[in-house]
Amino acid sequence: MMKVAYYPGCSLHSTAREYDISFQLVCRKLGIELQEIPHWVCCGSSPAHVTSHLLSIALPCKNLILAEEMGLDTVVAPCAACFNRLKIAKQEVAEDSKLKKEVQEVLGKPSAGKIEVKHPLQVIIEDVGLKKVEEMTRRKLQGLRVASYYGCLLVRPPSVINFDDPEDPQSMDNLVSALGGEALPWAFKTECCGASFSLSETDIVFELSGEILNEALEAGAECILVACPLCQSNLDLRQKGIEKRRGKKFNLPILYFTELLGLALGMSMRQLGLSRHIVNPSKLLERKLAVT
């Protein structure tokens, strides 16, 4: 059994509860033990790195230290923004001795260096393996046309993230194919959804997320698969508003990849918390996958 430290980040405890629930369930099934980091704090997200560089490094480092103190060698962060900040902090501290010293001074502890930061997608693809996932599949996603949307922070900057392709990533598509679904090729996989402007510059989110929804629909998608609570929230919560502005119905459920994986592994919609979505996916899933 694989044991990893779990950094849920603020969203998975609030707006993205269903991501948290589905991820935990999927992990249990795949033989991964998640241990939530005790007393973890916010990674600082964008507000930190646009305000103070040192703060934007120190906050993730604090969490990395907490995780290392658990005696584990990997920390998994499902929120793409948290994942991105943790990875960047780790790399910058490793490469910049002056910064390292400052961070130490702020935290009063030598900064962590050994612990590896992973995104759940990475754990599933690299550690579990798609072959095993395929073998464990109970319910093929036969005929489900999925547009995988990766967003910005999961793949950029590639020199730090070092995981999937920054222009045409494939990991979620490969997962969808392994689960028997139809992974659609489309060109907006890594276009920005408006990210943290959800509350401050909502018009930008309407515009950018609208483009993404439109492109996915044009590509023939029935649902969009995501791996980030910010992307999910912008595409799901704001979808009604976008429809109104563009005068066009999308009705595209925005699913976390863990939810689709959970369904394929035989779990029910209720277990996975799918009722929490704003755009209701149940009709589509009932029709296509005969799940309840």
């Binding site: 392709d165 920054p166 222009e167 045409d168 060109a187 907006f188 492109e215 044009e218």
Partner: protein, 663 residues
């Protein structure tokens, strides 16, 4: 005791800005053996060289040190100057205080101190220099030209015009190279084939020029005047002497394959000539795809050939020939844009390159001169051209400007409009570089008369929507983002060195730069020479060049080569190994390490014992002067002139003379 003169060069301000040259000269006066030292603004100038000769006479100098630039630049100049002053040319040393001192340091005091040390080294060495006599070797009066594009063709014509023999070795089945693929040429718009074909024919018909097509250079040994070259003549499976190019074979061949010459837009057969005007007009069998070779089926070409020229049993042949000089004309290849994810990783069929577009423009090309979308063959009406793809991109491409893309893109935009006046041409550029005769005027005409829309900015993303290409760019001049839905995108991909350039460079012992482009001996004053005497460069293997520049360098290189060949014999570097037979124990450890087989054993009669014994002997014409034998020699019997043990130990001692005192 040697009487040394030291001359410190300002090199304008290149040296004197960082190094206190006057102090260097003043302190040099105190070095052992130095009888005269001075500084001067430009030592390599005529007055500078006159100064040396005058001071030699005035102060009775016997050794010269010039502290200036790198020996790779001016060692030869000053050797000649030393000789003109009546001294042995090897009684000279260069102290490199520019490339390795003034240009790499900022602190004036530190740089001056270092320059003093560098001059000290040179004076310590020069006092121990031996007088060396240049020896001569005969010259083979034949030039090897590697590559049969316009560059190699022009070089061969010029060599032959001078009355010397030339051999072109071309990898492809026909000469002609890239230029044969072009439709029309800028800025005059004359058709490429019309001006190239006569030259190809001239090469073919000349008695002095021999063509080895479908052949590759495999090994080069020897040196200027006497290069020994092994050439692999790949099996064509067609007898060149029997075939007269009637074409019956390829008309009947049942195998259809994508044509490389047509950028895979058209088809060719398994037995084929790459294009109708091929020289020699002799087909070649593609062994990978020929049915007979792979399955022992078919054999139609052999059956139908009226001249019995098809020979399935033919094998590669390696021949060896001698040459007096070599001209490298290997050209370039195109940057592969499939590394750009934002341009679709090369997976969009309608995102093509300039070469594809040339083939489409050509009326005898795969589309009969129609500009179409490769995806469905429909006419392309809205075409976006993108410049600098892979050029000026340190992050993922080449740092340099490919120099001709601005021009050929303008030409292609113009030709698009000529082919279809209704078509729209959009050109994304960063800067328009049109520095050539009538070039700027041409670009103006394309914009003004033909109405091509120029947009200043690099394209960020190309993607497909509903079967059309969406090009997301910007025009920084108006400060707006621009999205164009296009039928066809033409990328002006960078001109880059061939993937095997390094292999050839090593074979020829010529340097190459960080971009794998071959390096000329001097960027300004020896642009077609290399540091290896007798090897010359022409065309785009050195840096991206358009046709006029390529032809100019080809003529220049051939003049240089012919100049060499006009000598009956050539001097060779006397800085080679020499054996002291008194000390040599005959162990021949030196012979083991010599990479050139220049050491043989020789029987002598010992001076003291009067007994016969073995000693090592160096063959001067084979020794290249590497010195590996010196290090291998345990008794220290072999020495290397120019870099003797005594000289190098002297240098070390001079460096440490003051060290010992301090500590």
């Amino acid at each position: 005791m040697a009487r040394i003169g030291v001359f410190v060069c300002h090199c304008g301000t290149n040296i004197s800005a960082t190094v206190d040259v006057k102090k260097v000269a003043e302190i040099a006066k105190g070095f052992p053996g130095v009888k005269f030292a001075t500084d001067y603004r430009y030592m390599c100038s005529e007055p500078g060289q006159d100064l040396i000769q005058k001071m030699v006479k005035e102060h009775n100098l016997t050794r010269i040190v010039v502290a200036a630039c790198s020996p790779s630049l001016h060692e030869k100049t000053f050797r000649t100057c030393t000789q003109n002053a009546g001294l042995n040319p090897y009684f000279f040393e260069m102290a490199n205080i520019r490339e390795q001192c003034s240009w790499v340091h900022d602190d004036r005091e530190e740089a001056t101190l270092k320059a003093i040390d560098i001059v000290k080294l040179a004076t310590a060495k020069v006092g121990k220099n031996n007088p060396l006599q240049t020896t001569f070797i005969p010259v083979e009066k034949k030039v090897l030209i590697i590559g049969g594009g316009i560059s190699g063709i022009q070089a061969a014509i010029d060599v032959a015009f001078n009355g010397f023999k030339a051999v072109i070795v071309e990898r492809e089945p026909s000469i002609g190279g890239r230029m044969a693929m072009f439709d029309k040429t800028f800025p005059t718009l004359d058709c490429a084939a019309c001006i190239l074909t006569p030259k190809m024919v001239e090469v073919n018909q000349s008695d002095l020029i021999k063509l080895y097509t479908y052949s590759e250079v495999e090994e080069v040994s020897g040196y200027v005047g006497n290069f020994k070259v092994k050439i692999r003549r790949k099996a064509r499976l067609v007898d060149e002497n029997k075939c007269n190019g009637c074409g019956t074979c390829w008309q009947r061949c049942p195998v259809r394959l994508p044509s490389e010459f047509d950028m895979n837009l058209g088809k060719r057969k398994a037995i084929y000539v790459p294009f109708p005007q091929a020289v020699p007009n002799v087909p070649v069998i593609d062994q990978k795809h020929c049915l007979y070779i792979n399955k022992k089926k078919c054999g139609i070409c052999k059956k139908v050939c009226p001249f019995e020229a098809i020979d399935y049993e033919q094998e590669d042949e390696v021949i060896e020939e001698q040459f007096g000089a070599i001209i490298v004309a290997t050209g370039f290849t195109m940057f592969d844009h499939s590394i750009y994810g934002e341009y679709g990783y090369g997976k969009y069929k309608n995102v093509t390159t300039g070469l594809h577009f040339e083939r489409m423009l050509n009326s005898s090309g795969p589309t009969g001169g129609k500009i179409v979308r490769p995806s469905d063959g429909k006419e392309a009406k809205k075409v976006v051209f993108i410049q600098c793809v892979g050029s000026r991109d340190e992050a993922r491409g080449m740092p340099y400007c490919s120099r001709l893309c601005c021009m050929y893109t303008a030409k292609q935009a113009l030709l698009l409009k000529e082919h279809n006046p209704e078509a729209e041409a959009y050109v994304f550029y960063i800067d328009i570089r049109a520095a050539g005769k009538n070039y700027e005027e041409f670009v103006e005409r394309v914009q003004d008369e033909y109405g091509a829309t120029y947009l200043r900015g690099r394209v960020s993303k190309i993607f497909q929507r509903n079967g059309r290409l969406m090009v997301r760019g910007c025009d920084t001049l108006s400060g707006t983002q621009i999205e164009i839905d296009a039928d066809l995108v033409v990328l002006a991909t960078a001109l880059i060195a061939r993937p095997d350039a390094i292999k050839l460079a090593q074979m020829l012992h010529i340097p190459y730069d960080q971009n794998r482009l071959f390096t000329e001996a001097h960027p300004k004053l020896a642009p077609v020479e290399t540091v290896t005497t007798g090897v010359f460069l022409t065309g785009a293997c050195q840096s991206p060049k358009d046709i006029p520049d390529t032809v100019a360098t080809a003529s220049a290189a051939s003049v240089k080569a012919c100049g060499l060949l006009s000598h009956e014999k050539l001097p060779i570097d006397p800085q080679i190994a020499r054996v002291d037979v008194e000390i040599c124990s005959g162990c021949l450890a030196c012979k083991e390490v010599c990479p050139f087989g220049a050491i043989e054993k020789e029987e002598i009669v010992d001076r003291v014992t009067q007994q016969k014994r073995w000693v090592a002997k160096v063959a001067p014409s084979l020794c290249n002067g590497c010195g590996a034998c010196n290090t291998a020699c345990r008794p220290g019997a072999i020495d290397l002139d120019g870099f003797t043990e005594e000289q190098i130990f002297g240098q070390i001692e001079s460096l440490t003379a003051d060290k010992g005192n301090e500590r």
